[in-house]
Each structure stands twice: as structure tokens, then as C-alpha cells.
């Protein structure tokens, strides 16, 4: 299970935070501080895995953003790297050549995309196309927001 997902810039500013367990606000702030300090201190050509308390931390830098994932000890680290990569691909497809500013100004969209990819700390859909289609349909629903509902079916 994934415990949390954090996105932060090279200066340590938080761009996205998703928590899959119930943690107090204070605890969250502390974890964010710890993660940013640990990950930003890493040398460029070191491996992408860290140990922190009883969790494994997987991190990867894409352009100016660090993607940081915390998984439980029995999970597969290499697949976690693929999870990060898949999320970046989804963002890229949606925003078209995604950059940090896109995520800053459209943070709620980034969350919506994440919620179509992960639920409760687990992957819900392994196909890129299905996730993209679902987001498009939801956006259309939001746009045509009137008293009428659009019925959109997806063939599974």
C-alpha cells in the first residue's frame, strides 16, 4: 500500500500532497519537512530508494519537481518507480508537455487525475487510455454543468 505521495519543487515548496492514512495536521507537516530535507539532500547519481522509519521512500526528479512516494516494507520498489512514471505520463497527456506551473495553477486537476489512477493507496486502473478517457468525460460533465446530466458510458 502507498502511504502518501508528495510533490515538491527543488526549493522544497510543496505542490501536491496525497495522504492515504489518517494523520494529524502536525504529523503531516513534520513528515513533509522530513521528506523534503532527506530527498533534497541526496546526491545526483545515487539510488532512488531510501529508508525512513518503517517505510521505503521512492523518489524521482522530473525537471524541477521531485515526486516522492512512501510504500510499505513488503512492496516492490521497482514497480513503485513505475507508478511514479505512469502518473507523470498521465499528467503529461492531460496538460500537454506538463511543467511545474501547470501543476501549480491547476492543482485541483492534478488531484482529479491522481484520483482516477490511485484509490486508497492502490492502483485502480492499469490502462493509460481508460484513465484519460475517464478524466475527459468528467471534465465534460463539469462543463456542461446545468440541471441536466450527461450520461456517459464507458465500456469496460
Amino acid at each position: 500500500m502507498i502511504r502518501f505521495l508528495l510533490l515538491f519543487s527543488r526549493q522544497g515548496k510543496l505542490r501536491l500532497q496525497k495522504w492515504f492514512t489518517a494523520i494529524s495536521e502536525r504529523e503531516k507537516k513534520k513528515i513533509i519537512r522530513d521528506m523534503t530535507t532527506m530527498v533534497l539532500a541526496r546526491q545526483p547519481r545515487t539510488c532512488n530508494f531510501l529508508h525512513w522509519k518503517d517505510l521505503k521512500i521512492i523518489y524521482k526528479r522530473y525537471a524541477s519537481l521531485y515526486f516522492c512516494l512512501a510504500i510499505e516494507n513488503q512492496e516492490n520498489e521497482l514497480i513503485a518507480l513505475e507508478v511514479i512514471h505512469r502518473y507523470v505520463e498521465l499528467l503529461d497527456k492531460y496538460f500537454g508537455n506538463v511543467c511545474e506551473l501547470d501543476i501549480i495553477f491547476n492543482f485541483e486537476k492534478a488531484y482529479f487525475i491522481l484520483d482516477e489512477f490511485l484509490i486508497g493507496g492502490e492502483i485502480q486502473e492499469t490502462s493509460k487510455q481508460i484513465v484519460n478517457r475517464a478524466i475527459e468525460a468528467s471534465d465534460m460533465l463539469q462543463e456542461g454543468d446545468s440541471s441536466e446530466w450527461f450520461e456517459v458510458e464507458l465500456f469496460g
Binding site: 510543496l14 505542490r15 501536491l16 500532497q17 495522504w19 492515504f20 489518517a22 494523520i23 494529524s24 507537516k29 547519481r45 545515487t46 539510488c47 532512488n48 530508494f49 531510501l50 516492490n76 520498489e77 521497482l78 514497480i79 518507480l81 513505475e82 507508478v83 501549480i104 495553477f105 492543482f107 485541483e108 486537476k109 488531484y111 482529479f112 484520483d115 484509490i119 486508497g120 492502490e122 492502483i123 485502480q124 486502473e125 492499469t126 490502462s127 487510455q129 481508460i130 475517464a134 468525460a137 468528467s138 471534465d139 460533465l141 463539469q142 462543463e143 454543468d145 440541471s147 446530466w149 450520461e151 456517459v152 458510458e153 464507458l154 469496460g156
Partner: protein
């Protein structure tokens, strides 16, 4: 994509703030506006306001006043508002907040909504922040959705069920049948969700695990389909078909095959297939291979498959990708206990990883190398480990040093190798070793008696080279103090001979004493060693005296006390210094300098109370020091109990000393012999009449006493008689006197012999009554004789 302009305006405004203070100002204004908007009735911009609040929340500012707005927006009929409301709920309303319960009803309604995207929002939120009560409330709904809905909803419902089971374990039973049936779905998302759910159920309940074992053939089928199928555009990642699902299924197979022969057999072929067919050029392929290896090693697989798995890990070790090397070593670490030989085959690669750039890889390589050390490879491994120690990052030094010590202790091929290794570690990383290393090493050196000469020479050289490593310096000082005579002798078969003079040795110790790098403990070692050298050298005792007396006024109290007491040894009890030489042997098993010091302390204490006998005894040893040279029997056995207190144990100390067999060349200082009479001793002198006494020991109990009287006055003495009395058990027999007149001016004497027999060996005393006549007057006097010449105070 509908641009929420107000939101983006606000974000731009916040980002353009140049200082923290300015940013706070902007945010405060915005929050005030948002609060005002919340209080108003329904307007079109509600979702924008909440979104703004969520942005502010992400920057770290408080946003709890938005919680009720979330609740209201979730209940709104508009999809855009629901969407942001649910997002707000996931960010602001975790299960610890009271307001979270208020959305239970909304969620329930939305789960049954006609639009799947609304259902999806509810499912996602429930799976993210649903509390135990909410889960219990809504579990039946989820179960319904698991059975009868489209695949888009089914996959989400499955993961929602996973969350429910994590929160409320008993509800696992509820979902088991639905989970079973989901395995026959074709949709990958649903399959994935189903597998995750089954994993969760099996991990929590062993009975459920038993039941799901029957699904192993189905799972094997699904995997085969994925591995052997052709290119599938929907799920392909770098040539692997749906790696996420493959990894999940492998994980489930692992859980089902653990400790179960039947299940393990059923999946054997499949695992071999996956291991050989999966393309390992990209990370994805390696991820699947990694999961396969973990599964093979965890179930009851046949040996051929295990070897295949370990070989995959061996290949991983050679991979360019650092991540892959790291996880290979983590996995090898887990199995080094069980599949030791298989891992040994890759020892070379592992040892090479000690030189990797990455600190995490180095750490893993170190742990694995230490685990792979065995009696057959100890020499080569130690070479590599010592090389590593000299260049390893500081945070790993302590771990490496202690690992090397343990390995050396378990597998040392020879004592000399062991000592060499320990010295090497102290020279390289002396600052990082644990405290008990110093006494352990001293113990080791003490036991390797034939290597004392070699060891002291080597340590002396090391001391000359570098005095900054405290543990090394301490051991070196101790050795120089203890085996200084071997050092000064100069010849040693094991190393090149080097001429070390007494001055050189003292120079070295003095450097340590004076250096600002030496810790107080190290100084203590050096001072004690200097003191010990005073009995092993001949020319420079004065130099030692001056060194020791300087430290009598040292600021460090411990050092000062030692110096003062050592000084006392020089001044008052010089003969005792030699006994100090043997402190090394009359020693406790843990050779701590404190105990050495306490020995001197012990010896000094009773001396001040005046135990003369003690002095005499030690005198013996001082005189016969040659006989107490290092002899293996004496040195090795190290007799003597632990010295913790001063008084009582002192005698035990001496008891140890006494046991020393004295060589025949020793002469006792006691000069009494059996055969001659002692010189006469005056026992009475009054009024010109003197009486002297001499003894002759006839036997063990018999004594002949001769009393001789003489008259120094001017007038003669007549009727001179002596009468004697002795203690009860002593037998007395007075022989006839030679006469009874004493002429004046001592011209003639009177002698009388008294034969005494003291069978009970009591304290011999004799009372003598003298009576005589002189110038017409009678005189009578009594004298008591308490000690007899030639006998000790006890009359024996």
C-alpha cells in the same frame, strides 16, 4: 477544461508576493473574502472559493473553517460543486474530525447515484478517509456494487472494500464471495482490484487463505495469458503486458504458496517461465523479475528454481542501474542465512560493490560481506574489508570496525593474524571502535605470550607514527609498560630489530602524556606505564621520578592522585616498586588500567598502618627479583581474585605472591641459625650489679639460659643468689651456680645455668630474683625478662 479565473488570479497574486509578510497579507485578505462568501447564500462561484481555500491550505495556512462548506458542497446537485466538495473532504476532513460523519449520508446517496462519475467520487472519498463507523454503515452498499455494476465502478468498489477491510477486519467475510467471483472478469482494472482485495483478505485471515488456495490454477492461467500473449496496446509498458497486474498476481501467488507444497508445485512451471521469458533490459521487466525472485524464494520451490532465482539476483548485481544493484543486495541479505552457498558464489561481485559510489549500496555491500565471511575465505575477505575501512564514509566506520572485530574473533586463523588485524583496525579507525575493544585487545595480547615481543615492537612503531587514535595509544602504552623489557632488549625474530633505548621509550610515553590530543584515560595509561617501566629499566629511574612528580600537581584529579601515590612508592616504599612489576600478572581478567592502579593503592594502604611483616615479605621478593622473570606458568595463569576493595583482598594478593616458588639461590635475611650461643645481653643493671643473659637453643622446645653476674662497685658482695620463675607450662631446672660472691670491680663473675623446657611454646618469660649482701646490708630485687636473644617475640 474550465479555467477558474478567480482561482488563478489569486494564485498569481500570492506567487508575486516578494516577502513572507506580503504573502501572509494577501492570504489573509483572500481568506476573509472566502469566509464572507461562504456565509452568503448559494452563488455560482462556490466551487472556486473552496478551491482557493484548498490552495491556501496546501501552502500551510489553517483552513478548518472550510470544513462545513465541504459538507454543503458535497450535498449539492451540481457535479462541479460535488467534485470540489469531495476533494475538500479528502484534504480537510480526515476521520479525526467530527464533521466527517456528516458526509456519511451524502456518500450513501451518491453511491446509489445514476451517474457513475458521481458514484466514483463517493467511492474514492470513502476509500481515502472513511472512518470505521462510516465503513460499517456503507459496507453493504459496497458489496452490492461489487456484484452488479459496470467495470468502471467495480474496480473502484473493490479498492473501497480493501479500505473497509483494513479499517474493520471482521467485514472481510462479507467481501470474500464477491472477490472470488471477480477473478473471472476480463477487465484488467477489475482484476487488479480483485487481486488486491484477495491479498488483503488472505493476509488477515488464515481460513480465508485456505479457501483461496483453490484459485491458484486460475491465477496461473491469467499470468500465462499475460506473459505469453502478444502485444496489447491497452496495457503494454516497454514490451511487458500489464506489469502492474503481473506483479500483483505474483504477490498473491507468493502468499498462497507459502508453506504449502501443493500450491507451490502448481505454480512452479509458471514461475520458471516468467523468470526466463521476461525481458530484463528495462526497469519494468526487472520489476517483474524481482517480484518473481521474491516469490520463488518465499514458497516451497524446488532447488533448480531457487538456483535460477539467486542467479537472477547475481545478474542484477552486475546491472548498470544502481537501483537494481541495491535491491539485489537487499534480497541477498535476506537469504544469506538460508541459501548461504548460493550467495557465496556471488561473493566477488558483492565485494566489488564495496567500492560503489552510492552510500546506500556501500552499506548493503558491507552487511552482506560481513555475513559471507567464513573460515575458508577469512584472509581474502579481511583484506577487502580492511581496504574498505580505510576509505569508507564516516557513518559506516563504526559498523565496519565492529563487524571486522567479530569476524576476526570467530575465524582468526592464527593469533598473530588476529593481533595484526586488530592493530590495523585501530590504526585506521581507532576513533570509531567501541570502548570494550581496548580491554579485549589487551586480553588477547596477554594470552598470546609468544608474541609479546613482536606485539610490543609493532605497537611502539605505531605509537611513534601517530598518537591521535586514543584506543591505539592506550593499548600501546599498556604494552610498553608491561613488556618494556622485551622492547629494550631489541631482538625479535618476527620483525626487523630496532634499537630502542630507555630514553626512546620514555620519550614516547612522555609525548603521549603531554600531547593535547590525549584523553584523560589515555594519560592514565601512559602514567601507569611510565611507572611500570621504573622496574624494568636501570638507568633512567630518576627521569621517571621527575615525570611522576610533575603530575603530582596536575589539574586532572585522577591523574594527580595516581602521580602522588606513585611518588609515595618512590619515596617511602622503594622496595615495593619491584612488586608493582608483577601487577601485570596478578590481574583481573579484564585488564583495565583502573585495576592496575588499584593494586598499587592496595599495597600502599596497609603499609601506612605499619604492617612490618608485609614489608619483610615483599622485601624477599624485591631481593629475589630475578626469579620472578616472565615464566609461562606464572604469567599465563594470572592468579588472584578481582581487586575491588583495598584491605581484605590485599592478603589474597600477598597469598598469590607467597605461592611463588622461590628458587634455591635465595637466602633468607633472617640470620638466626641453630648451632651457636647468642651474645650475652644485659638484663639487669642496678646498684653496680649487672646481670647478663645468653641463650642456647638445645631443641625445638629446650633452651639453656646462662646468667652471668658481675659487681662493678668498690665493695665485695656476698651471698649472691638468683632465683627464677617461669610461666606455668614451662619447666625450669636451675643448675648449681658457680659461686655466691662477687668481688669488687668485676674481677670475677658468677654464672648460673638455667635449663628451660617450653613444650607448649608459650610466650617465654622469666622472672629473676636477685638477692645479696653488701657492706652488711641485704639487697633484694626482681627483674622480668621478656625477650630472649635468638628467639623471636613469641619466644619460639
Amino acid at each position: 477544461m474550465s479555467p477558474s479565473v478567480p482561482l488563478q488570479e489569486m494564485i498569481r497574486a500570492i506567487r508575486s508576493a516578494r516577502t513572507q509578510c506580503e504573502e501572509r497579507g494577501v492570504i489573509q485578505r483572500e481568506c476573509a473574502a472566502i469566509r464572507a462568501q461562504f456565509r452568503q447564500a448559494d452563488n455560482g462561484g462556490r466551487s472556486h472559493n473552496l478551491a482557493k481555500l484548498l490552495y491556501v491550505h496546501m501552502l500551510g495556512y489553517p483552513a478548518h473553517f472550510g470544513q462545513m462548506e465541504c459538507v454543503r458542497m458535497i450535498a449539492s446537485p451540481r457535479y462541479s460543486e460535488k467534485r470540489v466538495g469531495y476533494l475538500g473532504a479528502m484534504m480537510l476532513l480526515d476521520e479525526k474530525q467530527d464533521a466527517s460523519l456528516l458526509i456519511t449520508n451524502s456518500i450513501k446517496n451518491d453511491l446509489a447515484h445514476s451517474n457513475q462519475y458521481v458514484q466514483s467520487l463517493a467511492l474514492c472519498t470513502l476509500a481515502c478517509m472513511g472512518s470505521a463507523e462510516m465503513c460499517r454503515d456503507l459496507a453493504p452498499e459496497i458489496d452490492r456494487l461489487l456484484r452488479a455494476s459496470n467495470s468502471y465502478i467495480k474496480k473502484k468498489a473493490a479498492l473501497c472494500a480493501v479500505h473497509i477491510v483494513r479499517k474493520v477486519h471482521e467485514l472481510g467475510e462479507l467481501f470474500a464471495p464477491a472477490a472470488r467471483s471477480l477473478l473471472s472478469e476480463k477487465n484488467h482494472g477489475v482484476l487488479h482490484g480483485a487481486v488486491v482485495l484477495i491479498i488483503e483478505l488472505c493476509e488477515r485471515n488464515p481460513e480465508t487463505l485456505e479457501r483461496f488456495r483453490k484459485t491458484v490454477p486460475d491465477l496461473v492461467q491469467i499470468m500465462k495469458g499475460l506473459v505469453l500473449s502478444g502485444y496489447s496496446p491497452e496495457h503494454d509498458v516497454a514490451g511487458i503486458s500489464d506489469p502492474f497486474l503481473q506483479v500483483r498476481i505474483l504477490r498473491l501467488l507468493r502468499i498462497l504458496g507459502r508453506n504449502n507444497e501443493g500450491a507451490s508445485d502448481a505454480m512452479n512451471d509458471l514461475l520458471a517461465q516468467v523468470a526466463t521469458n521476461t525481458d530484463s533490459t528495462k526497469t519494468v521487466g526487472n520489476a517483474v523479475l524481482y517480484e518473481t525472485v521474491l516469490t520463488v524464494l518465499d514458497i516451497k520451490s524446488e532447488s533448480g528454481l531457487r538456483v535460477l532465482a539467486v542467479n537472477i539476483l547475481g545478474r542484477f548485481l552486475l546491472n548498470n542501474d544502481r537501483n537494481i544493484r541495491y535491491i539485489a543486495m537487499t534480497s541477498l541479505q535476506k537469504i544469506v542465512g538460508t541459501d548461504h552457498n548460493a550467495v557465496q558464489r556471488h561473493r566477488g561481485t558483492i565485494v566489488d560493490c564495496l567500492k560503489d559510489q552510492d552510500a546506500s549500496v556501500k552499506r548493503r555491500a558491507l552487511e552482506l560481506s560481513l555475513a559471507l565471511v567464513s573460515a575458508s575465505n577469512i584472509r581474502s575477505m579481511m583484506k577487502e574489508l580492511l581496504l574498505f575501512l580505510s576509505s569508507c564514509p564516516p557513518e559506516l566506520r563504526a559498523h565496519a570496525a565492529s563487524g571486522i572485530f567479530n569476524a576476526a574473533e570467530r575465524y582468526a586463523p592464527s593469533q598473530r593474524w588476529h593481533i595484526d588485524t586488530m592493530l590495523h583496525v585501530l590504526i585506521t579507525a581507532g576513533g570509531d571502535v567501541r570502548d570494550e575493544t581496548v580491554p579485549n585487545l589487551i586480553q588477547l595480547i596477554t594470552n598470546a605470550s609468544e608474541l609479546h615481543c613482536y606485539t610490543v615492537h609493532k605497537l611502539y612503531r605505531a605509537l611513534l607514527a601517530d598518537i591521535s587514535q586514543q584506543s591505539l595509544v592506550q593499548v600501546a602504552c599498556w604494552c610498553i609498560g608491561e613488556y618494556g623489557d622485551l622492547l629494550l632488549r631489541g631482538d625479535c625474530q618476527e620483525t626487523e630489530p630496532v634499537q630502542v633505548t630507555e630514553d626512546d621509550a620514555l620519550d614516547a610515553l612522555e609525548t603521549v602524556l603531554q600531547s593535547h590530543m590525549s584523553s584523560p584515560a589515555t594519560r592514565g595509561f601512559a602514567l601507569t606505564a611510565t611507572m611500570k617501566l621504573s622496574t624494568r629499566i636501570t638507568d633512567n629511574v630518576d627521569r621517571i621520578r621527575s615525570i611522576v612528580s610533575i603530575y603530582g600537581s596536575c589539574i586532572d584529579v585522577e591523574l594527580q592522585q595516581r602521580a602522588v601515590e606513585y611518588n609515595a612508592l618512590f619515596k617511602k616504599y622503594d622496595h615495593m616498586r619491584y612488586a608493582m612489576k608483577n601487577y601485570g600478572r596478578i590481574r583481573v581478567t579484564f585488564t583495565e588500567p583502573r585495576f592496575e592502579y588499584m593494586c598499587s593503592h592496595c599495597l600502599l594502604l596497609p603499609l601506612s598502618v605499619g604492617g612490618l611483616k608485609v614489608c619483610d615479605l615483599l622485601d624477599l621478593l624485591g631481593g629475589s627479583e630475578e626469579t620472578l622473570q616472565p615464566s609461562p606458568a606464572f604469567g599465563g595463569t594470572a592468579p588472584g581474585p578481582s581487586v575491588n576493595t583495598a584491605g581484605g583482598d590485599l592478603l589474597d594478593l600477598l597469598g598469590g605472591l607467597e605461592l611463588t616458588p622461590l628458587a634455591p639461590g635465595v637466602t633468607l635475611r633472617v640470620t638466626h641459625t641453630h648451632t651457636h650461643t647468642t651474645d650475652p645481653v644485659p638484663v639487669y643493671d642496678k646498684g653496680g650489679v649487672t646481670l647478663t643473659l645468653s641463650c642456647e637453643k638445645q631443641s625445638d622446645t629446650g633452651l639453656t639460659v646462662t646468667l652471668t653476674a658481675s659487681n662493678a662497685t668498690d665493695s665485695d658482695i656476698s651471698s649472691f643468689t638468683l632465683q627464677a620463675a617461669v610461666p606455668k607450662s614451662v619447666q625450669l631446672h636451675m643448675k648449681a651456680p658457680s659461686g655466691d660472691s662477687l668481688p669488687a670491680r668485676g674481677t670475677a663473675k658468677v654464672t648460673q645455668m638455667v635449663v628451660l623446657n617450653n613444650p607448649n611454646k608459650v610466650n617465654l618469660k622469666m622472672r629473676v630474683r636477685v638477692s645479696y649482701t653488701r657492706l652488711g646490708s641485704a639487697f633484694q630485687d626482681t627483674v622480668q625478662i621478656d625477650s630472649f636473644p635468638g628467639l623471636d617475640a613469641a619466644g619460639r
